[in-house]
């Protein structure tokens, strides 16, 4: 839903104002903070990335944290100390993600402890995946092949998802967007079509990864979209920070997800 209104706002803004200019606005520099990006999916060990924030105008990549202690525990009492594999990326080995278990992440950096926890929500296997050729639809989509997969949303509680789409192994990240889905407007227990968010041509390999999210993680991604695409609050919501689920003032998200993948080649 939100996306559709963003389209509207974008079109409106473009149609009204056509000029922009990069300006040198004197921005202050805030205190440096720790950024945590943790992920554990079913049947795989955890991956945690640690970095620090930097000044707005900085043109180098953000500094990575390479000497932190990173520990994952689950609600069965298992403990996994992750090892640094370079460039701020830490990987675990003896804990792999299991549906419905709760995981706790602990990061110790410069003597400060940051923690987070998340339950790993279930995800259904997909029912099928198909593609079809379609003509251009106005300003919205080009002629080409469109891939759709079908999956059922589990009944009962509210479910949230994140889709990642690849074309020939390249991740589609256009317009600073995340492809988010919630079952709020969806019929339960029906096979729902979900379209890949890009157009493919003959010979392309189309791949997707579909993640189940907690409400907390879903909200995090929504806020991230809003943060990345804010217009200064004129038509969009007032600019706001992305509230994550890490304690002690660190930024970021510890995400536990069920994941399904599918791919095909357009012929």
């Amino acid at each position: 839903m939100k996306k559709l209104f963003n389209i509207f706002i974008a079109i409106a803004t473009i149609s009204i104002t056509s000029c922009d200019e990069v300006i040198d606005f004197d921005l202050h520099e805030g205190q440096q903070r720790v950024m945590v990006e943790g992920l554990i999916v079913n049947d795989q060990p955890a991956v945690v990335k640690l970095s620090r924030t930097t000044s707005f105008y900085s043109s180098s990549p953000t500094p990575k944290i390479t000497d932190a202690t990173v520990i994952i525990t689950d609600n069965t009492g298992a403990v996994d100390t992750l090892t640094h594999e370079g460039d701020g990326v830490y990987k675990g080995d003896n804990i792999v993600g299991v549906f419905d278990r709760t995981y706790v992440l602990k990061v110790i950096d410069r003597g400060v402890e940051y923690t987070s926890q998340s339950k790993l929500p279930r995800i259904n296997e997909i029912d099928s995946i198909v593609y079809e050729y379609r003509d251009r639809q106005g300003f919205f989509s080009d002629s080409g092949y469109y891939v759709t997969f079908y999956a059922k949303d589990p009944p009962g509680e509210k479910n949230y998802y994140l889709g990642k789409y690849y074309k020939n192994n390249g991740l589609i990240t256009q317009n600073n967007f995340f492809y988010l889905y919630s079952d709020e407007l969806i019929e339960e227990n029906t096979s729902i079509p979900v379209e890949f968010e890009t157009v493919y041509y003959k010979g392309d390999v189309a791949k997707m990864e579909f993640f189940s999210l907690t409400k907390e993680a879903y909200d995090f991604y929504l806020k991230m979209i809003s943060n990345l695409n804010n217009d200064g609050g004129f038509y969009s919501t007032p600019p706001a920070n992305v509230k994550g689920n890490i304690s002690n003032g660190a930024l970021g998200l510890f995400q536990a997800s069920g994941m399904v993948t599918a791919s095909l080649t357009i012929q």
């Binding site: 000044s55 707005f56 106005g138 759709t148």
Partner: protein, 783 residues
């Protein structure tokens, strides 16, 4: 409790009726009209020369003066009109209808007889600005679209949000705190094209008056201002027309008598035609794009006899935007007003009004994979009874009651193709309003006049509907129960007294000091999270979770005229405190949210300022200079960590200069220069990386509205050239050439941050602005 309040009001009415001893006096009453077209003149000063007796005509041109028997000279003055004079002998109640002729600009020098009106000194109005709707047609306009709202933005005490935006921020109030009335019907979304133009077609307008304070007890429901816009009644003497062909739109107005001097009509339309040119494009998608808006005002009135007159007025306007069959949206207002003026006797004037107003928004999306329709809206029906009782030469009493029913549709989402989407229809909200008021304009002495009134308003949020129960803070996860209410069942009632008062003390013939106090209550709230509201933002009533907003404003002013009232000046200061004003939590989700209250927090806002105004109304050179110093802040628990922050439209300094000069009968040159110090904005203090390759670079923000934009300033000019009028042809025309933002100042529409183009992970600050200068040509005609 409620009964006590009503009893109290009734008592007040009784006192007003009987408190003043009756002497042997007679009443002169009638209507003041324009001699050429029969339009009622609002606010004309009618007085008896050399006596303290006088009155001003009301919204329907009606006046009434009660005097001892005798010989008098009846005088009427109205700005831009020749003074009316008539000798009368009063021996009984008498009806005198006054017809006034417009001043004709002579070739040599403007000849004006009698004194200039000095009503700005004499009346008790403070914080009130009149807009001369004839004058604004000569002033420069963006794309040549003469816009009364844009002119109001150049008045003291009014702030502007961004370049070209029609939002009004009056004395620290937000855009939804303005009661905008079009022929007494509230207009819920007064803008076209996302706020670039207002819905008011200048051709149809008779008068526009902005009350920043000193709002009469007759009106209520919004905290910060009343904008009273009235349309013309239509020429009752002869058939005539006017119109214009502009850069982006065309206008046509037809008016004339249905029965001469008894009944007339006016119909006025405007439509933009930018999209018609898109049809010429070679690109199919561009050809299928629709982007236009239109306005239609229509009005008829019928004078049944001296004592009865009825008016029926309607407004319809829409914005339409479509991209082929895939994306369509349209939204607009419709209002209707049926009024019946009745003169019971020479002292008691009554007006009965039925009002209907609606705003709706509809959006459709239709792709092969999915489609849906989305809609929101609001409907209001009001019945109102107002009386003016011209008790005696010292007291003019107004009283009345009104009742309103509103239905609010906060959102309906219905899928149009079978994709497994489900329909979501948020429950409609309903509310009932009731208000009663009594007020009195009282001349205590020749020097001292007061106007005071009391309004009592009562508001009920009624069923059918659900109310959520929260355990602790209003968060979705804290909902522990839902209470359902049946149709028209009372969910929550709010009410309160709204005292209003203003006073004028004449220091001498040229100057006066005035003061006012206002208490206002606002029961409905616009769920708009952005600086410029969007058409899909919805209005909601006060509910058990969302209390009514209230404000108290005091203001003091000094008014002084120079050069025999040719130049009017004023200095006003105000302090306004607002309680329960809403703001929204970070990343508030306002679309299809069945528990809006989780996104809203309320708190205190305050504003204070100083406004200077110098105006020259007559002569070859007219115009005004205004300067405003003001400060507007808010403090709302749970927003900005509970710390005080500036409102998004807070500007410390505002300066406006508007000049119009008639070189001769044919050529007019006008221009304006506006300056506003920068408004607050939230921009980052840092950034970080996120995502698989660190390819998302979000930013870190400090407190809300931590930074300030650069100052805003702009100069516009316009030349109006009248074409030579051909003998024996009743066709008058002129050309208006206008340039907006003459020196091409790149004023920010907004400032935002984005990924640097080309350089990965680098960010940049970008200013979005209107291309300038924007020239436009308009051809105007009258016949």
């Amino acid at each position: 409790m409620k009964k006590n309040y009503l009893l109290f009001l009734g008592l007040l009415l009784l006192i007003a009726q009987s408190a003043f001893p009756q002497e042997q006096k007679y009443t002169i009453s009638g209507r003041v009209k324009d001699a050429s077209n029969g339009e009622d003149l609002i606010g004309a000063i009618v007085n008896l020369s050399g006596t303290p007796y006088g009155a001003s005509s009301n919204e329907y041109g009606f006046y009434s003066i009660t005097v001892p028997p005798g010989k008098y000279i009846l005088e009427a003055n109205y700005l831009g009109y020749q003074k009316f004079e008539k000798e009368i002998t009063v021996t009984a109640n008498v009806t005198i209808n006054i017809e006034m002729s417009e001043q004709v600009l002579e070739a040599q020098e403007v000849v004006i007889t009698g004194e200039r009106p000095d009503k700005n000194i004499q009346n008790t109005k403070i914080g009130v600005q009149e807009v001369d709707v004839k004058q604004i047609k000569k002033l420069p306009a963006l794309f040549g679209e003469v816009d009364v709202i844009k002119n109001i933005q150049m008045l003291p005490g009014v702030q502007v949000a961004g370049e070209g935006n029609t939002g009004l921020f009056v004395r620290g109030g937000s855009t939804d705190q303005n009661l905008i009335l079009l022929d007494e019907a509230p207009v819920y979304n007064a803008s076209h094209l996302l706020g670039i133009f207002s819905v008011f077609n200048s051709e149809a307008l008779k008068s526009a008056e902005l009350y920043k304070g000193g709002i009469p007890a007759q009106h209520g429901g919004r905290l910060s201002s009343l904008l009273d816009i009235r349309t013309r009644d239509g020429n009752s003497k002869k058939f005539s027309g006017s119109g214009g062909i502009g850069t982006i739109s065309s206008r046509l107005t037809l008016e004339g008598p249905i029965v001469k001097d008894k009944s007339s009509f006016i119909i006025s339309g405007r439509r933009t035609y930018g999209d018609l040119f898109l049809k010429l494009s070679s690109d199919k998608d561009v050809r299928q794009t629709r982007l236009f808006f239109y306005d239609l005002n229509a009005k008829v009135n019928y004078t049944i006899n001296d004592k009865n007159r009825i008016y029926l007025a309607g407004y319809f306007g829409r914005d339409v935007f479509g991209l082929g069959k895939f994306f369509n949206l349209n939204y607009g207002n419709a209002t209707g007003t049926l009024r019946w003026n009745h003169v019971y006797n020479s002292k008691l004037f009554s007006n009965t009004t039925l009002i209907y107003s609606t705003f709706d928004y509809a959006q459709e999306l239709e792709f092969s994979s999915f489609g849906f329709e989305y809609g929101t809206g609001l409907k209001e029906a009001t019945i109102k009874q107002d009386y003016n009782y011209f008790l005696n030469s010292k007291n003019e009493i107004g009283f009345g009651i009104s009742g309103t029913h509103r239905t609010y549709a906060p959102g309906i989402f219905s899928p149009t193709s079978a994709t497994g989407l489900v329909e979501v229809a948020l429950d409609k909200f309903r509310s009932l309003d009731f208000a009663a008021y009594i007020s009195n304009k009282q001349k205590i002495s020749n020097r001292f006049s007061v106007e005071y009134g009391l309004r009592y308003s009562l508001f009920s949020n009624v069923g059918k509907g659900d109310v959520f129960v929260y355990n602790g803070e209003r968060l979705e996860e804290n909902i522990i129960d839902t209470i359902s209410y049946g149709s028209l069942e009372n969910i929550k009632t709010y009410g309160g007294f709204e005292p209003r008062a203003s006073a004028r003390y004449l220091l001498n013939e040229r100057s006066s000091i005035k003061a006012s106090y206002n208490h206002m209550i606002q029961y409905i709230h616009l769920m708009a999270n952005s600086t410029s509201p969007l058409p899909f933002n919805v209005w909601l009533p006060s509910t058990p979770h969302l209390q009514p907003q209230t404000s108290d404003q005091v203001s003091i002013g000094y008014f002084r005229n120079f050069l025999e009232n040719k130049i009017e000046t004023s200095v006003e200061t105000y302090y306004k405190n607002m309680n329960n004003i809403p703001d929204f939590i970070d990343n508030a989700e306002l679309l299809l949210n069945e528990h809006f209250e989780t996104e809203v927090r309320t708190g205190r806002g305050w504003s204070y300022g100083l406004e200077l105004f110098v105006k020259k109304n007559t002569g070859k050179t007219t115009g005004w200079i205004s300067y405003t110093w003001s400060k507007t802040e808010r403090k709302i628990p749970e927003i900005n960590d509970g710390k005080v922050y500036y409102a998004g439209y807070d500007r410390r300094h505002n300066f406006n200069l508007v000049v119009s000069h008639d070189f001769n009968e044919k050529v007019n040159l006008s221009g304006n220069w506006v300056y506003g110090s920068g408004r607050p904005i939230t921009l980052p203090i840092g950034k970080y990386e996120f995502g698989d390759y660190g390819n998302y670079v979000p930013v870190i923000y400090p407190e809300r509205n931590y930074y300030r934009m650069q100052a805003y300033h702009r100069m516009d000019i316009a030349v109006t050239i009248k074409n030579k009028k051909k003998e024996n042809r009743n066709w008058d025309s002129n050309w208006n050439f206008s340039i907006y933002n003459l020196y091409a100042r790149k004023n920010p529409f907004t400032i935002l941050t984005r990924d640097s183009q080309g350089l990965p992970k680098k960010k940049e600050v970008v200013k979005i602005y209107f291309p300038a200068p924007i020239p436009s040509i308009t051809y105007n005609f009258n016949f």
